[in-house]
């Protein structure tokens, strides 16, 4: 079998017959495997007489790519006013050449990308419009969420308990180990760093106040929200996006189900229940970490730590942190679902929207946390 044997490189020979006539003998293999060499070769062929016969019967193997090169050479010569004919083709090659002759490709132009100020402005404008549309989409989801929520409140049977439980299991129970570990480390680091600093003033006991208030009011909830945005927000986007790519979302709609009710509501409700619980766990874990570090580095025994903590924080401190959690969950959930439902047909778009979902969620979580800080300062908490 001659299928996989080595290719012979393409070659040519020019025989001059008369001052006006020359014969171009092609030999070797003119296939896709030898195409790069063949193209270079074709570029070196110089033919200057009026009539050229291209002899192809010495060619070993010929496929469409090789035939295209021969055809291109011929077309270029004919464009310059010469006459070219192909001789020595058997029936099979004849039909291959005639098939290729019918092909009239558009004139080739290299793709150019040039930077222009206009293009930059256009891109900026488009992105501004996109941001506007995005806010509209978020409001749309929020609105339909409200509508669905009110129907569910009137008909509690329509609340998908099992779906919520499944999502809760994924977003909350699955996240406990990593959230607890992360908060433990953060609590330990804060109290270690703060403790060394405060010791210079002989105020090392106040590291307990520092850690307690910082963790309960800000760090616990914000780190948990960031972790959940990365963990569950991306998962929501990818799930909904994949469902969109497979037309599952359309199928739900056609069956007469409300996409918000079936897909979005259970996820957001589960997340809104999960995030406060996770925040509470994160708080405990961070305070535990802080306690261990202060004991190890600053020689504050656990009993003294607990005493100082009790004096430093109130229930209000804890609640200020926890009360933010459902809002952050709502933001993460809505952004994740909006981005998921925006996914188009390609795998690239799925990746893009998953990235955007996490980035936007984390950004908005921090912005909203800042707004809460201003709000609590204004009402004096």
């Amino acid at each position: 079998m001659a299928f996989l044997e080595k290719n012979t490189p393409p070659a040519f020979r020019i025989d001059a017959r008369s001052p006006d006539h020359q014969i171009l003998c092609l030999s070797g293999d003119w296939t896709v495997s030898t195409l790069a060499a063949a193209e270079k070769l074709v570029n070196t062929i110089k033919l200057d007489r009026k009539l050229t016969s291209v002899q192809v019967d010495d060619i070993g193997m010929l496929d469409t790519s090789g035939a295209w090169l021969v055809h291109r050479l011929r077309a270029a010569l004919e464009f310059e006013g010469q006459r070219v004919d192909i001789v020595g083709a058997d029936a099979e090659r004849e039909s291959l050449f005639s098939q290729i002759e019918q092909h009239h490709p558009p004139r080739w132009r290299p793709e150019t990308t040039s930077f222009s100020i206009l293009g930059f402005l256009e891109l900026t404008g488009r992105q501004v419009v996109e941001v506007g549309k995005d806010s509209l989409r978020m409001l749309h989801i929020l609105g339909s969420l409200g509508a669905v929520l009110s129907t569910v409140l009137l008909h509690p049977k329509r609340l998908r308990g099992i779906a919520i439980a499944v999502q809760f299991d994924k977003t909350c129970i699955g996240a406990v180990p990593i959230v607890a570990l992360m908060s433990f480390l953060i609590g330990a680091i804060i109290s270690q760093q703060g403790g060394f600093y405060l010791r210079q003033f002989g105020a090392d006991i106040f590291v307990v106040d520092l850690a307690g208030i910082l963790v309960l009011r800000e760090i616990g909830v914000i780190l948990t929200a960031i972790m959940v945005a990365g963990r569950s927000g991306s998962a929501f986007t990818a799930e909904l996006g994949a469902m969109r790519m497979q037309e599952e979302v359309d199928a739900l709609q056609v069956i007469g189900l409300n996409v918000t009710e079936v897909l979005v509501l259970p996820r957001i409700v589960a997340l809104m229940i999960a995030l406060p619980i996770l925040t509470f766990i994160a708080n405990l874990s961070a305070l535990f970490g802080a306690g261990l570090t202060t004991w190890a580095y600053l020689d504050i025994p656990p009993a003294a730590y607990l005493n100082q903590l009790q004096a430093a924080i109130t229930l209000e401190t804890l609640l200020v942190g926890i009360v933010k959690a459902p809002f952050m969950a709502l933001i993460i959930g809505v952004i994740a679902c909006v981005e998921g439902l925006k996914v188009g047909g390609s795998a690239e778009s799925l990746g893009h929207h998953t990235t955007m979902s996490v980035v936007k969620a984390i950004f908005l979580v921090i912005v909203v946390d800042g707004l809460f800080a201003i709000f609590f300062a204004a009402i004096g908490i």
């Binding site: 079998m1 299928f3 996989l4 195409l35 790069a36 092909h103 080739w108």
Partner: protein, 269 residues
């Protein structure tokens, strides 16, 4: 031709010494998932330049056989010999050159969704050959025209194409490296009868002009009648029968009889 007696793969055509070498031979193929055996001791030969239609009931393992030949599904036993090389003992370089010489049209097209059709067609060229961008663009536009797609389809993404266009674009990608052997998995399913007939004509003309060998899994009786040189029937975990359409029409196996001479088949005429 039950072909169970043959054990020596590259020996050449075992019976019916017709022109055309055997470019793919499979011997004793056994494939199973878990405790379920899908194919058992299956033998098959594909000859150079023929269009081989493959039929069988749903779930009999037509696609599994194709995927086993392509190496996408592990096989429990058996040897596959392609272009004179045993797939099991082929070196990595041989394996790569085998893969360059076959093209596959998957059932769902399997175009890369983040690339345009043109980029999809150019991907095998870009990865395997060093060609100038100009030549690749020209070849891509040639392939587009070969499979009957308009030039502007080249700039579209797969998600913007209709089902028929996806099949054509996928065929164009399969033909990108001018393969000797193409595998088509239900190429005409989901196409309207006119589109299906056009696809059949396309397959036939490509096979004739390019000397292409075609392995086609299909349920389309029209394709089987009009373009297939030989038809293989898969059933009871092996090739039940292989031969021309006339052989099939005169076969007395109950399943083959009802497939080719059943009510639905007779209604065609």
């Amino acid at each position: 031709m039950h072909a169970a007696e043959i054990t020596d793969p590259p020996a050449g055509p075992p019976e019916e010494a017709e022109p055309g070498d055997i470019i793919l031979s499979a011997r004793g193929i056994t494939v199973g998932f878990g405790s379920k055996i899908i194919l058992k001791d299956l033998d098959l030969d594909i000859r150079q330049g023929e269009i081989l239609g493959f039929v069988g009931g749903s779930g009999t393992g037509k696609s599994v056989l194709m995927r086993a030949i392509l190496g996408l599904v592990p096989r429990r036993a058996g040897r596959i010999n392609v272009f004179g090389y045993d797939l099991e003992t082929a070196t990595a370089a041989q394996r790569q050159s085998i893969e360059r010489r076959w093209g596959v049209l998957f059932q769902q097209g399997a175009l890369f969704s983040s690339l345009t059709v043109r980029q999809n067609i150019q991907l095998p060229m870009r990865e395997h050959l060093k060609l100038s961008q100009k030549l690749m663009d020209e070849l891509a536009s040639l392939k587009l025209e070969l499979v009957g797609l308009p030039q502007d389809a080249g700039h579209k993404y797969p998600s913007e194409l209709s089902g028929g266009m996806i099949k054509r674009a996928s065929l164009a990608r399969a033909l990108a490296l001018d393969p000797d052997l193409v595998f088509l998995d239900e190429p005409t399913s989901g196409l309207d009868p006119i589109g299906a007939a056009a696809f059949d004509m396309l397959t036939e003309s490509l096979s004739r002009t390019l000397g292409l060998t075609v392995y086609m899994v299909t349920h389309d009786l029209d394709s089987l009648h009009s373009i297939c040189d030989r038809i293989a029937v898969l059933g009871q975990k092996k090739v039940l029968a292989i031969g021309s359409i006339d052989d099939m029409m005169s076969n007395d196996d109950p399943w083959i009889k009802s497939y080719f001479r059943g009510e639905r088949a007779l209604r065609r005429t």
